[in-house]
Amino acid sequence: MFKRILIANRGEIAVRVIRACRDLGIESVAVYSDADRAALHVREADHAVHVGPAPAAESYLKIDRILDAAKRTGADAIHPGYGFFSENAAFARAVEDAGIVWIGPPPEAIERMGDKVEARKLMAAAGVPVVPGSPGTLETESEVRSIAKKIGFPIMIKAAAGGGGKGLRLVENDKDLASVVRTVSSEAKSSFGDGRFYVEKFVRNPRHIEIQVLADRKGNTVHVFERECSIQRRNQKVIEESPSPFVTPEMRARMGEVAVRAARAVKYYSAGTIEFLADADHNFYFLEMNTRIQVEHPVTEMVTGLDLVRTQIEIAAGETLPFKQHDIEQRGWAIECRIYAEDPAAGFVPAPGRIETLRFPDGPGIRNDAGVYPGAEVPIYYDPMISKLAAWGSDRAQAIDRMRRALGEFIISGDLTTNLAFHRWIMNHPDYLAGNFDTGFIGREYRPGPSHEKDADHERMAAMLLAAMAAQRGAGGTNGKAPAAPARERSAWRTLGRIDMLRR
């Protein structure tokens, strides 16, 4: 087993990997940019190396600096988390060339799956169903126009090097095509360093369902069932669950079998995920393979009892998978809500800032993977995730009941806006409760608006008025204790996470 693992990431996933290291008795090495000197992952790690200024491109995405940090601290393995270098074959190769173990899949598999166009071809050849689209990559508006003519609008334009909901845009009709092509191309160039893109027929109102796979270096490959990820905003997941309320036992078996076949086709090892689109008739199509740990891995962990990050580390160390397909069982139901510093009322734009007070939910069935602490800053430079709140229940209804309770217990205040109230809204939506939704759900259903206490009776009204008076006077009751220090009070009054409930 490794002695010291460098985590080439930040935020909650870096803390998650540090926890796995600690469970295994392995030392952890954090890296940090100027913006993250006081971040939780730096505090929690055994070692910490500064790797550059705040923008990721100048710090977390500098290959030489990360490798240098590993060498200086004597790290014998590197875990990339998700995002950043996690699907960068060049980095994976550089790590291995430096004599350090790469905790991830073979670079060739990253490469073949990372080129979305090649991946489509490869999967089709392996007998994995794919969505109709362009046979290869495109570069100009007119090429897109001719493919669109063939397969018909709406179409998705996707960056060949994109993934994870980034670098893809929908085109409904010919009028919007020029502007979208320009944006995708620019974004692909700046984000992925590769301006090529391709086109797929847009499957209207699909489900997004994915299969987790695990494989060791000896060719043992298993699937760990599905995750339902259809609740998305801005083409990015915000709520995931496992199992999927849509997937039947037969469909689950077929998807699992196809996912294992897909992984084997690229001689995969480590943890990976095959993403599928599913239509109303339970047909499913290969979307892409994520050759890394997923944000939403906790729901699979809660339902199966496995520790996916620990298993990743064990596989990288050359160990054989300690279980076979028939050892893995689903028990109960798990749901994850991604708690972001973002403003649902303003199109879910990031709304990061400093966290003043913070109280996390807990109790039966609750897990909360956070990357922050009271007083921490959610920096503007990176993904504005605060935590991943997950609830487990013996069935879906209980998982939802518990999630609703946990969302009520979650208190966060400071100079930021959160999507907590948005999650509460979903957890009370009849279609969500019925399991009746697809990737268009939020776009169709969510209308931000005032969410004040509509049924405020007179007692609640009296309490609210008194609270408001206390707020205005800057002093509450005495409780026999000295009041909090004024300086601290002032800042805490500024804004509160719960206020995102009210928007007008």
Binding site: R234, I411, A462, A467, A468
Partner: protein, 167 residues
């Protein structure tokens, strides 16, 4: 103390009287309540009224106070009754033909698609701003002429910062 509370546009006269260190009488309309209030955090209070327990987080936003609980939040203003009468109403602001394009969030300018002096059409993309790797093309809300360009590509901008002006 007498207050005028404005909740969701409706005005209420409220009278609050301190009965002891922790208890208060609250009267509004024909309702009268006794409440027990304790500070339980820097911006949190626990209030018990008629054996009902309320746990509120409080925030000030400008003139407004936000009272938030586990189930929702209410935004209100509270004005001293004696000052309420004198309170000047703000004159509605003039809407001019000048349109300011501002940053909706902190981020980085990826590309400025127009220059000062350019004529633009409604919905024409004028600037691309990136925040957290998401690029957003901001569009001109009206046809007009670009009179000022305040930023250059690569520049970091704050939320609300003026990017360019169209007249």
């Amino acid at each position: 103390m007498r207050y005028v509370a404005t909740i969701e546009g409706a005005e209420h006269e409220v009278e609050v009287e301190e009965l002891s260190a922790d208890t208060y009488a609250i009267r509004f309309g024909d309702q009268s309540f006794e409440a027990d209030l304790r500070r339980v955090g820097p911006a949190s209070v626990s209030i018990i009224v008629n054996n009902r327990s309320f746990d509120f987080d409080l925030a000030r936003e400008g003139d407004e106070i936000v009272v938030a609980s586990r189930t929702g939040a209410t935004r209100l203003t509270l004005v001293d009754a004696s000052r309420h009468a004198m309170r000047a109403r703000r004159a509605p602001r003039e809407v001019s033909g000048r349109v300011e394009i501002k940053a909706a969030m902190p981020g980085r300018v990826v590309n400025v698609l127009v220059a000062a002096g350019d004529e633009v059409t409604a919905d024409q993309g004028v600037i691309i701003v990136e925040a957290m790797k998401m690029e957003n093309e901001l569009k001109s809300p009206k046809a007009g002429k670009v009179t000022e360009v305040k930023v250059v590509a690569g520049q970091t901008v704050e939320k609300g910062e003026l990017l360019l002006v169209i007249e």
